[in-house]
Symmetry: C2
Subunit: 429 residues, 2 copies
C-alpha cells in the first residue's frame, strides 16, 4: 500500500490530478507488488470524473516511458495508423506495405481479437508460417528489408498500459476517452512512431455507437498525440456495414491480397485515403493517383511479400482454407446490405475471434459477402459463403449471416469512406 | 473474473444498482478467489455516484447475512450504541454497564484505534488481563452474568464488510455515506442488536468536519437501520474539544471509572443522554434522574466489574500506569480550551493509537487535562499532564498538548452534549 497512490486516487476522485499523481499511478502500474485494487479504484475515478488535458498528456508520456522504447536510425519518415476497430477492417494489411512502397517506414504494433473485435495479428496468422513476434533486432531487419512490419507488442513496451488495460477490461472502465487515448498513443510513442493517422469509427460494428462520441475521442487523440510530439490526424469513418467483402481471418487476408494486386473497392479506398493523409503528415503532398500507384504496379504487393518473408512466411498467398463451407441464401428479394454488428456475431460464431484473452481462434474462419451496398437480390440467391474448421459452427453461422442481411430503401446510398478529418487545432484555419 | 460482478460495477458506475448487483458484490466479497480490483472499482463507483436508498438497504442486509449472526434468547431488550468516533470519547465504557444496570442486554462489538481515532478495545486492554476476544458461548455467558460485554468482532461476523472496509481504507473510498452506514449497521444487525442509538459527531476531532455532513450520515443511518428492522435514533454531537478530561487508553479508563463511581461532567452527561434514548427505543420512558441512578448507587460500577470478570480482568481498577510523565504549563494567561484534533495529535505521539492496522499501541498512554471549557489560567499554570512508556515521546507530546490550548473570548460557552436528535421519519410529527 503506497501513500502516494492513495493520494493519487483521492485526487482523481476529486478531479484534481497533479503530475506527481500521474507519476505515482504509472510507477505502481509497473511495480508487481503494487495493489490491483488501488489501480482499479483510480481507473474508476478517472472513468467517472475524467482527466484534464494536461494530466492525460502526462499519463500518455509516462506510460510510453514505462518500459523499453524503440528508436529508429535516421532515414525515411516513421509513420503508422491506428484504428479503433471495425468489422472486416483489413486496412492495415494493405496500408502498411502501401506506405512502405511509397518510401516510408511503418513499424506497426498491432493487437489480438477479443469478443466481436477482430485482431490484425490473428488475421496474419492465417498465412502459413507468419510470425508476429519480432525481437528488436528482427524488427529493425524487417524495416530495412520490407519498409514495414506488423508485430505483437512486446510485454516490455509500455508495460504500465498493459496492466491498466487488463484491469479496465474487468472493471467496467474501458469506455473512458482519456484512458483509451493514453493507451493507444503510449504504445505508438514507445514504438518510435512520429506520424500517426487515426481511424476512429462509429456505428453498429464499432466500439462507439454514435458520431459525437467518436468525434470526442478523435479530438482527444489528436490533441494528446500532438502534445506528445507526434504529427497526427484522425479520420472519422462510418462502420454500419462490414468494410469490404470479407470478414474473418483467412477471408480478410485473401481480400487484402486482391486489393494489393490492384483491385478496387472499399478497402482500397480506405487504404488510399489513410495513406494520402499519412504522407501529408510526413510532409509529402501527393494526390490519390500517386498514392495508389504502388497498388497498381505491384510494388505494394512486393512490399507485403517482403514483410511476410521477414516474418517467416515464404508464401503470402498460402492462406488457411476452411474445412467446411456453407452458402447463405437471400431470405427475400430486394435491395440490401449487411449489418456490421450482426455480421460480427456470425464471424464470432465461426471462431474468428476469441471469447477470452489467450483463448483459441480459427484462422480459417471466413465470411465472404457476395453482395453489399444496396445490391438487388432475388429470394434464394447466394449472397454469402461462410467457412471454418467446424461443420456445425459453419451451419449455425450461415443462419446468423442471413439474419445480418438488411433491406434498404430506394434512396439508400453507401456511406462515405471518411466522413470527416480531425486535425490539431494549430492546423485548422 | 465474474461477469455478474462486471455488470454490478457497470451498474454502480451508471447509478443503476439492482438487487442482483448487490448480491453479486456481497457474494464476491466473501469469495477469497474474487478480484480485489473489481471490488475496488465498485467501491469507487459508489463513492462517486452514490447508492439509492433501496440498494443501500439491500447492501446492509446482505452484508449482515454474509457470515455468522448472533441470536440472543428471549429476555430483556438487546440495545447498543455506535459512535462515529471522537477524541477522549470513553462513553461506551460507561454506557454499556449503565444500560446493563438498567436491565438491558448490551452485546457491544467494538473496534481498534487507527490514525488519530481511539478504539474502545485498546482502551479496555489498559485493564490488566482484559480479554476482548469472546467466542459465542463466552459472549452469552458474559451477557447473562454482567448484562453487557465489549468485544472484538469475530472475523466470521459480517465478513463481506470486513473485506470491503479493508479495500476502502486504501482506495480513498472511506468517505461515502451509504458505504459508512451499511458497514456500521451490518455489524450491529449480525450481532443481534434490535435497538440502536447512534452518536454522530462533527468538528475538529471528528471524522466529519461540518454539521451538514454529520446530519446526512445520521439521517441515512436511521433510515437504513429502520429499514432493516432496528429501532434507531441518532444524536448529533459536537466534537471540537475532547470529551471529558482524559485522552489516551489508560487515562480514559480511569476517567470512566470515576464517572461509574458517581462523579459528574461531560462524560456522565453524554452517557445519560444516550442511555435515556436507548431506554426509550426499548419502550421505557425514564427521566434523567432514573437513568443516572445506577451511576450514583454503585450498580453501574458493579456491572462494569462483572463485565471485566467475565472478560478475564479480576480488578477493573488495575489500569496500566505510564512509566514517564511530563506536566504541561499554560503558554499564556487567559481563558481557554483544548482543541480536539490537536489533542489527538498529542495522544497519537504518545502511542495511544496505531499508525497502521496491526501496529503496536501503548495502553498506558495518557493525556490528563486539568482545565477545560473556558477555564481561566495564569501563564505557567500546569494545565495538563501527559504520560506513556517512552520518555522522549512524552516530552514531545507535552509540547503538542501545549499547542492544543486555544484561548477563547469572554462570551465563549461550552458546546451542548447533544445538538440535535435524528429519528425515523415515521416518528417525526
Amino acid at each position: 500500500v503506497s501513500a502516494e497512490l492513495v493520494a493519487a486516487i483521492a485526487a482523481a476522485r476529486d478531479a484534481a490530478t497533479s503530475p506527481a499523481d500521474v507519476a505515482a499511478v504509472v510507477a505502481a502500474s509497473t511495480d508487481p507488488t503494487s495493489s490491483d485494487a488501488q489501480l482499479a479504484a483510480w481507473l474508476m475515478a478517472v472513468r467517472l470524473r475524467g482527466l484534464a488535458d494536461a494530466a492525460a498528456a502526462d499519463l500518455t508520456a509516462a506510460m510510453a516511458a514505462s518500459g523499453e522504447t524503440l528508436a529508429w536510425p535516421d532515414g525515411p519518415a516513421v509513420v503508422d495508423k491506428h484504428s479503433t476497430g471495425g468489422v472486416g477492417d483489413k486496412t492495415s494489411l494493405v496500408l502498411a506495405p502501401l506506405l512502405a512502397a511509397l518510401g516510408y517506414r511503418v513499424p506497426m504494433v498491432s493487437g489480438r481479437s477479443l469478443g466481436l473485435t477482430g485482431g490484425t495479428l490473428d488475421k496474419l496468422e492465417a498465412i502459413s508460417g507468419f510470425d508476429v513476434h519480432l525481437d528488436p533486432p528482427a524488427a529493425r531487419r524487417a524495416l530495412d528489408d520490407a519498409g514495414c512490419f506488423i508485430a505483437a507488442a512486446s510485454d516490455r513496451l509500455a508495460p504500465a498500459d498493459a496492466r491498466l488495460y487488463r484491469l479496465r477490461d474487468v472493471t467496467a472502465t474501458i469506455d473512458s476517452v482519456p484512458l483509451i487515448a493514453a493507451s493507444i498513443l503510449s504504445k505508438k510513442l514507445a514504438a518510435g512512431v512520429r506520424h500517426l493517422v487515426l481511424d476512429v469509427k462509429w456505428g453498429s460494428g464499432a466500439f462507439m455507437g454514435d458520431f459525437a462520441a467518436a468525434e470526442r475521442l478523435a479530438a482527444t487523440l489528436v490533441a494528446l498525440g500532438s502534445a506528445a510530439g507526434m504529427r497526427c490526424a484522425a479520420a472519422l469513418c462510418p462502420m454500419d456495414e462490414p468494410l469490404g467483402r470479407a470478414v474473418g481471418n483467412a477471408a480478410e487476408v485473401r481480400e487484402a491480397l486482391v486489393v494489393l494486386g490492384g483491385s478496387g473497392g472499399a478497402v482500397r479506398d480506405a487504404a488510399v485515403a489513410l495513406a494520402r493523409r499519412a504522407a501529408r503528415l510526413a510532409g509529402d503532398d501527393l494526390d490519390d493517383a500517386a498514392v495508389a500507384r504502388p497498388l497498381d504496379d505491384g510494388r505494394a504487393y512486393e512490399a507485403f511479400a517482403r514483410m511476410c518473408a521477414a516474418q517467416n512466411a515464404s508464401d503470402p498467398a498460402a492462406v488457411a482454407v476452411p474445412a467446411h463451407r456453407v452458402d447463405v441464401s437471400a431470405p427475400r428479394a430486394g435491395r440490401g446490405r449487411f449489418d456490421a454488428h450482426a455480421t460480427a456475431l456470425a464471424a464470432a460464431a465461426l471462431g474468428a475471434t476469441r471469447t477470452h484473452p489467450g483463448g483459441p481462434v480459427d484462422v480459417s474462419a471466413s465470411v465472404d459477402l457476395h453482395v453489399a451496398d444496396g445490391d438487388a437480390v432475388a429470394a434464394g440467391d447466394v449472397i454469402a459463403t461462410v467457412g471454418c474448421a467446424d461443420a456445425t459452427a459453419a451451419a449455425h453461422a450461415a443462419g446468423l449471416v442471413a439474419a445480418a442481411w438488411r433491406e434498404v430503401g430506394e434512396l439508400w446510398e453507401p456511406a462515405p469512406t471518411v466522413a470527416a478529418w480531425i486535425e490539431p487545432d494549430s492546423e485548422t484555419p
